[in-house]
Amino acid sequence: MNQAKAKGSLEQPKPERAGVTSQPTADPLVEVTVRYFAALKEQAGRDAEWVTGASPDARVLYAQLKKRYQFDLEMEQVRIAIDGAFARPETPLRSGQEIAFLPPVSGG
């Protein structure tokens, strides 16, 4: 009954592997699943992927992905969900988490 549109749904993504850092940093590597929606999904050309990188928090991760995919949206316009719940951008990331980047909403 509660069905999202198929291509936006969360069932069985087939993530690609991608590194997001080009230079070594002091931050430990984390491997997370990233989900994109709406404009971000279109600009990334995918709705989910595995990302391995030195990304201490979602804000840093977004900045790395914004550079890679040339996202139009600034971090301040994007909301974060970690493992399916709204989260603060500065929440530390751990391997295995699912990070969703949500563009400004426009339901109704």
């Binding site: 509660n2 999202a4 936006g8 316009q77 400004p104």
Partner: protein, 159 residues
């Protein structure tokens, strides 16, 4: 009884209305949001809605709980479309049933406002000139982005 649904086929309120009825209730206020043919001076031919189901469901339940506490209403139901919609189709339907009309009106207005501002649902407008664009709700783009109670409780500044 509270229920939120996301559907990818036309919304028919008749399918849901009966689930709200109760002999103790004297009022049922419904809101239906339709796709209109113009937005901000541009001719609109249709919309595409995308939703993130799991988080929509969780946040809708938070909204419903807020409405129940604030307005003392008993039954709330909302249904939102996804996919491709033509002008005139129903994008969202909200209904609130309660013993008296006043709280039902207020709760219904509250719920549709919060749905528009808080649920992870995105609308792409298709224009008569062949272009298309993802749009943001006015309150969000105005800088007071929708925040959950959790975020407010965590002291987040508006994003």
């Amino acid at each position: 009884m509270t229920e939120f649904r996301i559907v990818d086929s036309p919304i028919n309120p008749q399918n849901y209305r009966l689930t709200l009825s109760d002999e103790r209730f004297g009022a049922c206020v419904e809101f239906e949001g339709w796709v209109r043919s113009e937005n901000l001076g541009r001719k609109v031919t249709g919309l595409t809605y995308e939703a993130w189901g799991p988080l929509c469901q969780a946040e809708a339940q938070v909204i419903f709980e807020e409405a129940r506490e604030r307005f003392q209403v008993s039954r709330i139901m909302a249904v939102h479309r996804t996919g491709e919609l033509k002008v005139g189709e129903t994008a969202v339907w909200v209904a609130v049933a309660s013993p008296h009309r006043k709280e039902a009106f207020a709760a219904c207005a509250f719920v549709i406002d919060e749905i528009k501002h808080r649920l992870p649902i995105w609308k792409k407008e298709h224009y008569a000139d062949g272009t298309q664009e993802w749009v943001a709700c006015h309150r969000c783009s105005a800088g007071s982005a929708a925040q959950t109670q959790d975020e407010r409780g965590a002291g987040l500044s508006p994003s």
